[in-house]
């Protein structure tokens, strides 16, 4: 049972991980993208943190909707709509449920609907898909996260900017998958979330 308080803690932890790894994320986005993923996400999470702080009395749907709006209006690029959608779908689902796996299902469905990527396209979907399943199965761990994120390395991208590089992207980890790994790592750090 996700409460608004636990959700806030989860997002705080996510924000910290993003902020700590900002340079790393942009570095990953350099060889196969446009070197802005860390900055995009950090800018967005900063806005998210401020927006939540300004509204202390939100219900669960409100927490996710506020988060979604902050990301949507501050991130831009591809990751803005993708993370924004994930949180917006959680907000919609949270009107009827406080079950984390149910909310994450909605989030993943939103990311897939929004970006049209499938597993194997070398995008954040390659991390989201196994990690949502792991939450369902009660098997989420840092090792599972690391493995999921690493699966993007050998792939040829079919979506996002890396797709323009074709085979030259092989061997590089997808930055959006890495940031998705942090979202789930933040769950591990949040007492009462899982």
């Amino acid at each position: 049972m996700l409460t608004p308080e636990i959700a806030r803690l989860w997002l705080e932890n996510f924000a910290t991980l993003i902020d700590t790894n900002k340079a790393h994320l942009s570095d990953l986005d350099t060889p196969i993208g446009d070197a802005d993923h860390g900055n995009n996400m950090a800018r967005g999470m900063q806005a998210l943190t401020e927006a939540l702080a300004a509204k202390p009395d939100l219900d669960l749907a409100g927490v996710f909707k506020t988060s979604a709006m902050a990301l949507i209006s501050k991130v831009g690029g591809a990751s803005g709509p993708l993370y924004g959608t994930a949180f917006l779908e959680m907000a919609k689902a949270a009107k009827n449920s406080a079950d984390l796996p149910t909310l994450l299902d909605a989030a993943l469905a939103g990311v897939i609907k929004r970006g049209g990527a499938q597993v194997g396209d070398k995008t954040m979907v390659d991390a989201w898909t196994p990690l949502v399943k792991a939450v369902h199965d009660g098997t989420l761990s840092q090792a599972v996260i690391d493995e999921a994120v690493a699966t993007t390395e050998p792939l040829v991208a079919k979506k996002g900017r890396a797709a323009y590089l074709g085979e030259r992207g092989i061997g590089h980890r997808d930055p959006g998958a890495e940031s998705t790994g942090y979202l789930f790592a933040a769950l591990l750090q949040t007492e009462g979330a899982l």
Binding site: M69, I72, S73, K74, V75, G76, G77, A78, G80, P81, L82, G84, T85, L88, R114, G115, K158, K159, G160, A163, Y164, G166
Partner: protein, 331 residues
């Protein structure tokens, strides 16, 4: 980089401000955004709103096509970057008159996702939203891209046809059907003599030698399909027309609209000469376009080059829609 600007990071807000203050009779800025809505509110009442938008750098697209008979609103993103959904959402709210909003989106993954999100946001407000994703650039199928064809200058024909129908009272459903019917008939391909310089980047997206041109470039200096030595206008027309013919199967029994579009730094003189060669080449096929437009309509900042759009007027009403007068800055 030699440009008449101030801070490269302030290009978009300054530009939108200048535009709206220059044409207050046509445009209003939507507060706290870089989106604009039609000033002539009376002309919007009771109609479905057709809106569009995308990255900036394509001026007069999109704001130049806002006005009676065409778009109700336009959203100006950062240079060559999709606008964020909240701005698109504001444009939807500002233009909706209770009959819904139809969005014309160009097929870039950022644009598609951000407009889709805006649609979701609007639907939470019970505003009906429909859309079409325009992908008229036939150069792309032969390239490395896997995201489908890009949306380029032919999108303007979509704006005009839908804007006219909306002004005449078409419903959101009517517009969806009309857009789907029009879409496959619009084909575009371009040739570049130089690439665009994004102000914040400070240097051109690619470099062509003084005697080189590139066929098939996109409107953000995306790579094309072939680079070769500069050739006379006639030869460029022949190349682009052949590509379009492969796709459209030009037929002297059919009617066509043509858009010769300058990319920003190519003077009208050259566009008119190119048009002259185009009319000659079409005449050989016994085709005289029923409608023609020539000018800098969907540019790529300061790129030199021309795109050629041919639109098969499969329905005779489309010609009347193109010819109908509008009250915009740039059509």
């Amino acid at each position: 980089m030699k440009k008449i600007i101030n801070d490269p990071a302030a290009v978009v807000p300054e530009m939108v401000d200048g535009l709206v203050r220059a044409y207050p009779q046509i445009l209003e800025q939507i507060p706290d955004t870089t989106a604009v809505v039609r000033a002539d509110k009376a002309s919007m009442v009771g109609k479905v709103a057709v809106i569009s938008g995308g990255g900036s750098g394509h001026e007069p697209t999109h704001a130049g096509f806002v006005g009676k008979g065409m778009l109700s609103a336009a959203v100006c993103g950062q240079v060559f970057t999709s606008p964020t959904p909240d701005q698109i959402y504001e444009a939807i709210k500002a233009s909706d008159q209770g009959r819904g909003v139809f969005m014309v989106v160009k097929n870039y993954s950022g644009d598609v996702m951000n407009f889709d999100m805006a649609k979701d946001m609007a639907e939470m407000d019970d505003i009906q939203v429909a859309s079409i994703v325009v992908d008229d650039d036939i150069a792309v199928e032969n390239s490395l891209y896997t995201q489908g064809r890009r949306g380029v200058a032919g999108t303007l024909f979509m704006h005009k046809i839908l804007g006219h129908a909306a002004q005449n009272g078409a419903s959101l459903d009517d517009l969806s059907k009309l857009a789907a019917a029009v879409l496959p008939h619009i084909n575009t391909v371009a040739v570049a003599l130089s690439a665009a310089t994004v102000p914040e980047a400070g240097k051109p997206g690619f470099t062509l030698a003084e005697d080189e041109i590139e066929y098939g470039v996109g409107i953000h200096s995306e790579p094309g399909y072939r680079r070769e030595k500069l050739r006379p206008s006639k030869a460029l027309v022949a190349e682009l027309l052949e590509k379009l013919d492969d796709s459209l199967h030009l037929d002297s029994d059919k009617q066509y609209a043509v858009l010769v579009n300058g990319m920003g730094a190519t003077p009208l003189m050259e566009q008119y000469i190119f048009s002259h060669d185009l009319f000659d080449a079409l005449a050989v096929k016994n085709i005289t376009p029923a409608f023609t437009k020539v000018g800098n309509l969907m540019t790529s900042i300061d790129m030199a080059g021309i795109s050629l759009t041919i639109f098969e007027l499969a329905d005779p009403e489309w010609l009347a829609a193109l010819q109908a007068p509008v009250e915009t800055i740039a059509w």
